[in-house]
Structure formats: C-alpha cells, structure tokens
Symmetry: D2
Subunit: 452 residues, 4 copies
C-alpha cells in the first residue's frame, strides 16, 4: 500500500519571485505549452501556486499596486500537468478528465489575501460605472475564518477554491475562441446599445505578446513569438473550464473536464480563499497563493458519452461538476432582488446581467446603512459566501435575479426592524477600504507572500 502523502508536482517557494520558482508558470492557453509534470490516475498529487498577480499586489496600506498593475500578466497558472492511465497511456482528445479536489488551502506562512477592484481605465469591475477607482481590502486568515482590517465587524468561513482549473485547448478550439472574441471586439460595441451600463470595460482580451508567459517556452524565441500571438488569455471561462470562478469547487468536489489534447495538460491557479457568486468587483475573491491536493481519473471516450456539443462543432461543450460535502453551513439569509431595469430607468429584455447588477446595487446600498461605506460593501459582496441566483428568466420583460447574504457574517443584526424598535445611531465602521492615492513612494510591505 503506497503511503498516501500527496506527491508534490508543482512546488512554490514563498520567498522567491515567480520567475525564480523551480517550475515556470504560464498565463495563456495553448496546446503547445509543454507539460511541467506528469501524474498517474489514482495518484494523489499536490500543486502549489502563487496568487493571480504573481505577488504584485501586496499587504501594505495602499491601493497603488491595484491601480498600476499590468493586467496583461494575470493569471499565473501552475502546470500544464500531463495525465496518464495506469499503463502510462495519456488521456486522449475525447476523454473526460475527472479531477477530485481532495484538499486545498493557503500556503503555510502566507495566510492572507486581498480583494480589489480595478480602476475603470485598467479593467474595472461589474459596477465600474458606480465605482470607477481602484480600491483594496486586505484579509487575514484565522484557520477557516477570514477577517479584514478594512471591513471591520465581518468574519466568515472560507469556501476556498481554485478560480481557474482547465485543460489545454486544441488548435481547433483555440481558433474558435480567437475568432468569436475578435468578432465581438470588432463589432460588439455597436450591438451593445442596450447595455451601455456595462460597456466601459474592454469587450474581450485578444491574444497579445505583451506580458505573455508560456512556461518552458523561452521568451523571445520564434516558437514563443508564434504561440504568444495565438494563445488565448486566461480571463474568461471557456469550453476547457478555465477561469470559471465557481465558488463551490471546494474540498471534496469533482470536476469533469473535456480533454482536447494528448495528456489533457491540466493547469490551475488563481486560488480564492472565498468568493461570492459573480465575483462582482472583478479582482473580487479573496485572492491568495495556495495549494491543491488532487486525484485524477480518465473516463475514456467520456466526451461523447456524457457531453453534448451546444454549438456548431463537437468542441462546443462545457465541464460538469459535483459539489463537495463540507461547505460552510448558514441558516439565515437576507435576499436582495433586482429586475432588468437599469439605473436610468430603462427597461431591458430578460437580461439577467442587468437584473443581477441591480440586486447587487440594492444590497450595497442597504448594507451601507449599517455603518459601512459603499466601497466596503462592494468588496464584501465580491468575496463573502453570498449566493447569486437567476430566479426568473421568462417573465417578459423582466429577468429577476437575487443575491442572498448569510446574516451570520456580520457582528450586528442586519435584518429590517419593526417600526416599534427604535434604531439607535449606527456605529461607523472604520477604517475604510484602501483607495488609490499615489504619491510617488511605494509603501512598506507587511506580507511579501509568494513571488513578491
């Protein structure tokens, strides 16, 4: 019987910068990024990772790092990892790769994270038209709990998960991605009349050599140039999984990923100590470095057996998930509703995005009545274990979306009170989140964390 301690296949040294680590990272999807490790089905293995920004965002009293970040470098992914069966035969295109997350958590010695929203000129967030400036909150972990000096009076258990987990795309799939996203970037704005509330952010992020990291492919070589021009950014979730930001993919969950290339080439990164559904502030989970303990299984021919293409090619599929059994348990929820009428009063047709935006805005405004700034609540709703639901999607013209917040995360009773209960003066919760005020001097770092 093999000893069950997971084999460390991707190590991270906390004191080192990303480019000094033993194995290189990558921040693009491409079939030709070579594996950095290989694992067998049934084997428990451990993957460590730096945070999404490779240590650029730090634990100090300023949001200047958030304001000035070069977004072209995210996300630093660990992998690719080649998966083979008991006989050493790699996973093949058409198989399903079942990945069980046996355990995960922060890296010991690096028990902190951050939640931020970018400046509207540098990526913005879901509510960038309301919150155009860069802001940041630092979170400290006490075992399963997180608290922030910038959002006092709140503490909650994390539902920790990798923001990104995915397989490498084939060239065919990569072409599909690049074409449809280019079409959007070129022609999308015109179509978005109806949605102008959202359109100040970039529509898509097309391949670019700027900031590109391709693992073992040496930068500047012709091979690197070719791949960098083709490789997809890691921002959106796509057919291969990727940045799906599904907050429930925590301990004990299982992910069935389609395999597009030999060996599957599994990559993962962007660990979140906790995230709310939607991750609304964009850099909105509690971002951190961390580790995963994984176990893989290959379901031969599983794509055909279990997935149905939902588009013009057999590649238009999506992963399937099973949720694990140890999620934090809350019994009381306060729920905010939004309908697809925007802040200008304009009616949108069954638009769940607009409805969810209004639900989030309603929640932020409500909670700010309890002593908080709106920026604090925007960041909180991005990262606390709140649930965002599509409640109604058929009752034309209004989609109804809801945002449910577990009341136990607050140290005060946030429910509406009867008119008979006098409401005392509410405590103002200080200090506030960090907002950017760049004065030319970089602040002193507290926790340098991984890659800082």
């Amino acid at each position: 019987m093999a000893p069950p301690t997971p084999r460390l296949v991707v190590p991270v040294a906390l004191k080192k910068k990303p480019w000094e680590q033993k194995l290189p990272f990558h921040n693009r999807w491409h079939p030709d990024i070579p594996p950095v490790a290989a694992v067998k089905v049934g084997e428990m293995f451990r993957v460590e990772m730096v945070d999404a920004t490779g240590g650029v965002i730090k634990d100090y009293d300023s949001a200047i790092d958030v304001k000035t970040i070069d977004a072209s470098t995210v996300h630093y992914l660990s992998g690719p990892i080649k998966v083979v069966d008991e006989d050493g035969i790699p996973a093949k295109a058409g198989d399903l790769l079942a990945v069980e997350i046996c355990n995960l958590g922060p890296l010991p010695g690096d028990e902190w994270g951050y939640t931020a929203t970018f400046d509207r000129e540098n990526g913005g967030g879901f509510l960038t038209d309301h919150f155009p400036s860069a802001t940041k909150a630092i979170w400290y972990f006490e075992g399963i709990y997180a608290y922030s000096p910038h959002i006092p009076g709140v503490r909650f258990p994390g539902l920790t998960h990798p923001g990104i987990i995915g397989t490498a795309p084939s060239m065919d799939l990569l072409k599909i991605w690049n074409e449809r996203e280019r079409e959007l970037e070129e022609n999308g704005l015109q179509s978005l009349k109806l949605c102008e509330v959202l359109h100040s952010r970039p529509l898509a992020n097309l391949p670019s050599t700027k900031g590109c990291l391709l693992g073992k492919i040496e930068e500047g070589t012709p091979e690197w140039e070719k791949i960098a021009r083709e490789a997809a950014r890691t921002i959106p979730g796509r057919e291969n999984g990727g940045n799906c930001d599904i907050k429930n993919l925590s301990r004990g969950s299982k992910i069935y990923l389609p395999v597009f290339v030999d060996g599957a080439n599994l990559s993962t990164g962007d660990m979140h100590f906790s995230q709310g559904d939607g991750e609304v502030s964009f850099c909105g989970a509690i971002e951190m470095s961390g580790f995963l303990e994984l176990k893989c299984e290959i379901i031969r021919g599983g794509m055909k057996e279990y997935l149905t293409p939902m588009g013009p090619t057999p590649l238009h599929v999506n992963p399937i998930f099973e949720i694990g059994p140890v999620e934090p348990r809350f019994s009381e929820w306060l729920v905010f509703e939004g309908i697809s009428v925007d802040e200008s009063g304009r009616q949108h047709y069954l638009d769940a995005s607009v409805a969810y935006k209004r639900a989030v805005l309603n929640a932020i405004d409500y909670l700010s009545k309890f002593g908080y700034s709106k920026e604090q609540m925007y960041l909180l709703l991005s990262c606390c274990p709140c649930e965002g639901r599509i409640s109604g999607i058929v009752d034309a013209p209004n989609a109804v979306a809801t945002l449910a917040i577990p009341t136990a995360i607050f140290d005060q009773d946030i429910r509406p009170k009867s008119s008979k209960v006098p409401v005392g003066p509410r405590l103002v919760r200080k200090p506030d989140v960090l907002k950017c005020s760049y004065d030319g001097n970089l602040p002193v770092t507290k926790n340098s964390g991984s890659g800082a």
Copy 2:
C-alpha cells in the same frame, strides 16, 4: 389570548369556476382596484387562490389546453387586501409591509399540479427556439412529495411558494412601468440583434382590456374601461414584488414589500408546489391552487429607512426577503455550466441570460442520456428544486452561469461513471410528456380542481 386559527379572508370553493367564487379575482396591477378584505397587523389570516390559469389547464391526457390557452387572463390573483395597524390606521405610501408566510400548501381535495411550456406562437418559454411546441406534465402530490406519470423515475419534496406576491402600485409607479415597457416594445427589437436567440417571444405585454379582470370593478363600466387601459399585466416581477418567482419564498420566509398606496393593497397568487430557479419553461413551476397563512407587520417609514432607489425616482426600489428555515435538504448536486456563447457559436458580452441558457441546454442534453426525452428534462428543470447561479459576471467576455441539480430526485445514479464501469442499456422512461395533438374533441377531465 385570541385563538390562533387563521382567519379566512379570501376563500376558494373548489367546485366553482373563478367567476362564481365569493370574492372576485383580478389579473392586473392598478391602484384603483378596490380591496376585497382587510387585515390587522399581527393577525394570522388565510388566503386561498386558484391556479394561475383559473382552472383552464386540466388533469387529462392532452396538452390541448396548454396550446389554446388565452394568455391574456393570467394570473388570477387573490386580493387586494388592505392592511391596517393596531389602531386601524392603514399602511401608508413610504412604509414597508413585512409579510411572514407562516404556512402554505395545496387546497385539500386538489392535490395535483402541472408544468407546461407554451407554443412559440402563444408565449413560448426560455428555450422556445429549441422546444417550439406546447407540452405538459401532470404532477400528483403525496404530502411533501410530487411525482409525475409523464416523467417516471423522479420524485422530490416541494419547496412550495406563491409565484406572485405584491402591493398595488401608485399611479406614478404605474406610469413608469407602462412607459418603459412601451419603449421596449416599440424600440427593443432593433437593439436585440445580439440576442436574437431569445427574441421570438413578445418583448413586453402592454395593458390591454382583453381578458382583463379588475376584482370588484364591474366589467364594461367606464371605470373598468379606464382602469383596464392603464393597468399593468402581472407577467413580470417589478418594484412592487409581483411575479418574482423566487422559489425560496416558502414556509417561514418573510417579505418586505414597499407600500405605494394607502392600505398597501396586498395581492397574491400563482401558487407553485415547486419551481427551479429561472422557471425556464415559463409555465414552468408545478402550478396549482393553494392557500397561504400570512401575518403582516407595518414598518412605518421603512422605505426610506431601508430601501434606496436604484433609478431616477424614489419609486425605483425592490423588495427584500428573508428565507425560511425548512427548505428540503440535499447534499449531492450535479452542476452544469454555461458561458455566454450561444448555440451558433457567437460570443456575447457578459450576458448571464445566454450563459444560463447554455447551462440549461447542457443539463437537458446530459440528463436525456439517462432514458429521458429532452422535453421531459426541460419540464423537469423548470420545476424541480434546482439552483441557477450567476457564478462569474466579470471575466470578459464570458459570463458563467451554473445550474445545480440535486441528484437524489432521480431513482438512478446520474453521475458520470468511470470508464471502468460498463454502462448497461439505459431504461427508456415512458410515458413521455403530453404534446399537443388537437383532434377537435376535448379530453375527459380527471381532476377538475379549482375553477374548472
């Protein structure tokens, strides 16, 4: 101490048709529809209701009723109910009305319901481009459980709730509704290039005198004519609550509704034995007659205290909810994901509606591999206690939506199996849902239910 048996303020007699009931129904929102009853705060009262269609859809082996229904008559609402405080002073505009749902259920003797999708020419549903025909499944209740002869092998506990609960709008609010929905109906199509997958359904349903029921206002009178021309349809959820279709508003939940007119004028209807998030097939919950036992509280000045307008006027608000403590408990969920790329392969920009559509289509296709027709699964996902989430709404250009299905509702294991487990021939689940095949003869009714 008053005996706690709830006072019956809106009775329904099962054998009678809607227009023969003791108190008249209404199917429009308007401030001038007069209350049919009054209740005091703190008092438990009981409201009975017919199903959304007033008994048109019946328990027989045909979907002809679904195909031919006159959609202008839904929903049959019970109320309005005037709410006064302990001193008899009515709720006032600007107050919040807190409504606790102490209990609810089917009407004794009428323990059945239906799930349907309309013909694309008569309202359609979320997936009307895939499922253009009228279909129907009948459900029978065994206490907390429902099962359908048309979707064998499935049984689940209901999370029963009223699809519609709301207060009367003021004339000002009504004007806002009519204007913004008219604007959409007139100009929306042009803006919807991006969303053509959805646009075959009516964009909005403007006021119309056809099928209009206004409670105690006698049809045909000048007053009726005036109100009928102004009164809003009950299809969408809006600022007053209304058809919000939030599946968690079950036993023990509490709803904080804004008050726009003197007395609040609370109405409710459209009972659902169970519904999935989104209610995707449109007539998609398990629709039934039923009763509510309610208790109200008035929070004086609560709109200003707790709600923040999210639009150009102080009326642009939404209700708040607390979820009750007795929801069915599931521990294992299979989760399907969708991204905002449509079936033609086109990329949409952070469109949660498109993403959810793809998640639902993925789930239907997956489940149909277990012996079901796609129509069976479309209706099932409309009405079973599945959760629809907005998982990611910021990772441009893809919104990520997920649909989580509790595996325990099936009598077989629906999880993907390892390639080592041989999959036997799967049982074909018969009979199928009812599809429309009108031959000129109406079928024999089994359960006539309310208003039949």
Copy 3:
C-alpha cells in the same frame, strides 16, 4: 390514474369527546384488538387523532388538569389499521411494514398544544427530584412556528411527528413484555441503589383494567376483561415501535416496522408539534391532536432479511427508520455537557442516563441566567428541537452526554460573552409557566380542542 387525495380512514371530529368519535380509540397493545380500518399498499391514507390525553389537558390558565390527570388512560391511539397487498393478502408475521409519512400536522381549527410535567406522585419526569410539581405551558401555532405565552421570547419551527407508531404484538411478544416488566417492577428497586436519583417514579406500568380502552371490544364483556388484563400499556417504546418518541420521524420519513400478526395492525397517536431529544419533562413534547398522511409497503419476509434478533427469541428486534428531507435547518448550536457523576457527587459507571441528566440540568441552569425560571427552561428543553447525544460511552468511568440547543430559537444572544462586554440587566421573562394551585373551581377553557 387515481386521484391522489388521501383517503380518510380514521376521522376525528373536533367538537366531540373521544368516546363520541366515529371510530373507537385504544390505549393498550394486544393482538386481539380488532382493526377499525383496512388499507392497501401504495394507497395514500389519512389518520386523524386526538392528543395523548384525549382532550383532558386544556387551554386555560391553570395546571390543575395536569396535576389531576388519570394517567391510566393515555395514550389515545388511532387504529389498528389492517394492511393488505395489491391482491388483498394481509401482511403476515415475519414481514416488514414500510410506512412513509407523506405529510402531517395539527387538525385545522385546533392549532395549539401543551407541554407539561406531572406531579412526582403522578408520573413525574426525568428531573422529578428537582421539579416535583405539575407545571404546564400552552403553545400556539403560527403555521410552522410555535410560541408560548408562558415562555416569552422563544419561537421555533416544529419538527412535527407522531410520538407513537407501531404494529400489534403477537401473544408471544406480549408475554415477553409482561414478564420482563413484571420482573423489573418486583425486583428492580433493589438493583437501583446506584440510580436512586431516578427511582421515585414508577418502574414499570403493568397491565391494568383501570382506564383501559380496547377499541371495538365492548367494555365489561368477558373478552374485554381478558384482554385488559393482558394488554400492555403504551408508555414505553418496545419491539413493535410504539412510543419511541423519535423526534425526527417527520414529513418524508419512512419507518420499517416488524409485523407480528396478520394484517400488521398499525396504530398511531400522541402527535407532537415538536420535541427535544429525550422528551425530558415526560409530557414533554408539544402535545396536540393532528393528522398523518401515510403510505404503506409490505416487504415480504423482511424481518428475516433485514432484522437480527438481539435477544433470546426471534421477536427481540427493533424497527429501522429513514429520516425525511425537510427538517428545520439551524446553523448555530450551544452545547452543554454532562458526565456520569450525579448531583450528590457520586460516580456512576458509564451511565448515559445520569450523564444526560447532568447535561440537561446544566442547560437549564445556564439558560435561566437569561431571565427565565428553571421551570420555563425545563419545559422548553423538553419540546424545542434540541439534540441529545451520547458523545462518549467508553471512557470509564464517565459516560459523556451532550445537549445541543439551536441558538436561533431565542430572541436574544444566549452565547457566553467576553469579559470585555458589559452584561446589562437581563429582562425577566414573564409570565411564567403555569403551576398547579387548585382552588376547587375549574378554570374557563380557551381552546377545547379534540375530545374536550
């Protein structure tokens, strides 16, 4: 397709006394009590019942009814009900009878209950040495919730269940019961030196003709005399199920009962709106009249297939249960511990009863610091949804038992506070429970309920 409305097989008329009802009750277990109804497997049927005392305990401001009750008449059981298969063949000895509780609740018009503890001279309770007097609290129901004017500041959802559900014993089994209980009554006291804290209550309740009700067997006949002398009291749970007082046997649960006589002869009664594990005050649940909607299945030969005798005969078996999916959901619990050292400081050997007693006493004392009398808390812990656990049963000499209380049932925060938080004066919760003060005049009844 048969209409699913459950067939009413045992009706109760609220205005009538127990002996005026259409079908007679019984309060003893005996194979010769004839069935009052028959049901088929698969059929949904409804059984109504009066409360455990047949209406003796009433809704008025006195505990005189509790003090003076004739305990020989409890419990009023509905049934026996004969169960046959699809072909009309009855369940046989050796089968298992699977009974699904599809639904249950109070009888409409009788939405109240009571919790009481008897005088130590008339049955007492688990803590009768601490609480020797009769006390009573009335509970009113608001749908799923109960509250008591006698225990202010508390409200909770019920986990409603029948205290008693069981099959008729065979003569052989009945003899086993009578012999072992007689042996205890005759010789037990001497063995109980170690447990004198408990021994002031009767050790067993042997058959007696006093108060005996045998359903259709006419009182005073020779047959009645014979059966009354043999028939077992309904106080304890035994091999046939019976008064097992398992609080989780609520909606959706399934009970596998051994069958000892032809037809199974299922009886049920003693409805509880809610009960804590242990039902410590004896008359300790929220006792009420009510209804059950049931569905039976026969597992032929199931006793041999699934049960193993745990004693000298094949009859020494116990039922098996499955818990339903709609229990109230609590997330925060305060837990009290007890060890098997009694109040005199004496050490008992791995005695879980003594340990649980100490846990309950600890909880009562703790909670009484929050403005309550100890009597209020004794009754509350008998009936609220608290969990009593055997945490450790092997670490000699101490058994460890725990009592977990959901904190959400109180309107104040009952957790211990840091020494930095000043504790203000605590509200005294008035009025108190009713204690007996008999002055010769019976009080005015509020709710007469069933059989009053």
Copy 4:
C-alpha cells in the same frame, strides 16, 4: 498588524519518538505539571501532537500492537499551556477560558490513522462481551476523505477534532475525582448487578505511577513520585473537559473551559480524523497525530457568571461548547433504534447505555448483511460520522436510543428494499479488519508516523 501565521508553541518532529521531542508530553492531570509554553489572548498559536498511543500502534498488517499495548501510557498530551491576558496577567481560578479551534488536521507526512478495539483483558470496548479480541483497521487520508483497506467500499469526509482538550484541575478538584472514582472501584461492582453486560471492563482507572508521564517533572524524583501518586488518568472526561470525545468540536468551534489554576494550563491531545458518537470500540475514532490552530480569550469571573455547580461543591461544573460551521453535510440517514432491554431479554429501567448498546448491535447486524463482517461494522460505527441520540428517556421502563448512519458513506444502497426488488448475491467485502495472531515476530512497519 501582526502577521497571522500561527505561532508554533508545541512542535512535533515526525521522525522522533515521544521522549525525543523538543517539549515533553504528559499523560496525567495534575495542577503541578508545569507549563511548557505560554500564550496571550487573541494570539493564534499552533499545537502539534502525537497520536494517543505515542506511536505504539503502527501501519502494518497485524493487530499485535493493539493486543499488547500498555494502556497505562495513554494519552500523550501536548501542554500544559499557560494563558495570559493582554497585560500578561494569567487566567485565574474562576475565569472561563474560551478556546476557538481555528483550524486542525493531520501532520503533513503522516496522513493515516487507525481504529481499534482492545482485547477484553486489556481495556475492551463498549461491546467487549460480543467482540472480545483485539482488532484493527488502518485508514488512509485523501484530503478531507478517509478510506480503509480493511473496510472496503466505504469512504467519508472527516469531522476532525481533538479527543482531549482541558484545563488543569486544582488540588481540590483532583481530590474529588480520586475519591469518587475510588469509591466506584471499591464498591461499584456490587451495585452493578443490573448492568453485568458492561462490567467486564475496569470500573475506573485510579492514579498509578506505572507509565506515568509528567512533562517537565523528571521521572524518579520525589516530586515526580508525589505527583504520580495523585495525578488523575486521562481516560474519562471530567469537569475540566478532558477526554470528552465530542465529535463536533471541529474547525470553527469554541470551547468554554472552567479555569481551576493560575494560567489555566491548557492541554490537548488524542486527535481524531473522525469519530462516531459514543466512540464505541474504545480506541474507536480514527486516531492520528495532528495539529491544532487555536485562539484563546479569558472571560474574567466567567465560571460564576455562566456555570452553575451541579453537585456538592462549586467545582462540579462542565464546559460549554459552540459548534463550528463547516461540518460535512449529509441528507440521508438510516436510523437504528435500541431500547433498554439487554441481549438476555432483561428489562432495565430507563438505561440509555443499554438502549444505545442495543441500537449499535442492531446496526452492526444490519450492515453485516451487506457483505461485511461484524468486526468491520463495529469499527466503522466507532469512527464514521454517525449520530447517537437519546431519543426518549422518560417512558418507563424503556429508554430509547438511536444511531443514525449517513447512507452516503457506502458505495452501495444500504436501505431496505421492497419485496419486489430481487436482492442479488451481495459482494463479500474483503479483506477484513486485522485480528490479533501473535507469532513472536513483529511485522514490518509501513508508516512509522510520530513517535514510532
């Protein structure tokens, strides 16, 4: 802001034996065992520990280690730890020490554990009269999950917790313990006529110098001799907490311990990856080495404020607990019942220990019908997350206890099946648990773990 990485105050080196570790262990309770470390309130600190046996029980294919273990040496406790407030003032007798378990788990590199039952001559277990021999099962951990090669077909998430956590007793409290346990050992047997089913195990374990470990007190010195003669064994839970074996004291829970000596002198040990209520096989949890991350708070004067003595002195108190929010979530439970009639058919009076014994025996026999040996199920029910309840403790003469087992831990459906479903031949689950067969050669160790 202090960095949140917990300070390691009690380290354990995996490769070293217990007596080679940096800080010494202790296995007795006594006020004069000196602290090995000190912590401040609010500070996060980490305590590592060896398993209960200090590495005697090993990962090899034999139960000889279980059979021959010297029970006088358990448990190896880490500590005592002195707790001081912000100003450095120690906790005082009369305070409450609130200990939050922020995190816990196995030691990296030692991810395995064992469940065992001792020979009846060497400690036995709850069912030692049925299972007199030493048996053992090894468990391997895959992140949150455990599986055993000796109990195939079972896998479950752990609810990990320290079996022992407690404060040092004062001399007065120690005297109370020694006197009452001596009284039991000397006179108990005679009183136990009624309970002879249990009495083959030692009644109590009085102080003895054999195997005694007293931390920094050097063995053999007069001081050591004196303390060793007085110090209490760590087997039972008592007023100071200690071996309470409450399986829910996992991540996020909070324990309020009475303080009896200056500094509180907190000790902890006996980590369990998982345990069932009751820990029935005695060495019955999944025993392992591990770590705790803790945070303390002092509630000055809290014993008087919150605890009420339940005995002749102010020291007769018990700790209070709050349960954490991340327990594994199960929705389906199969429940076995026991009543207080023993296997000989003898009736006991409201004896919850006898009732629980019968419930456990019923469960073992039932589950063994699904291909398992009874020994496998005895060990499984000791360590899987099953719930043991005192359901009824008042219905003389029968206590009713229940044992609820989450069905999801099995890879087969263990519910009773309708007689219509033919039951195929059941898979025999091999290999079986290890039973002792000592042949004079010690087996080869696989995982040496801590202290081996």
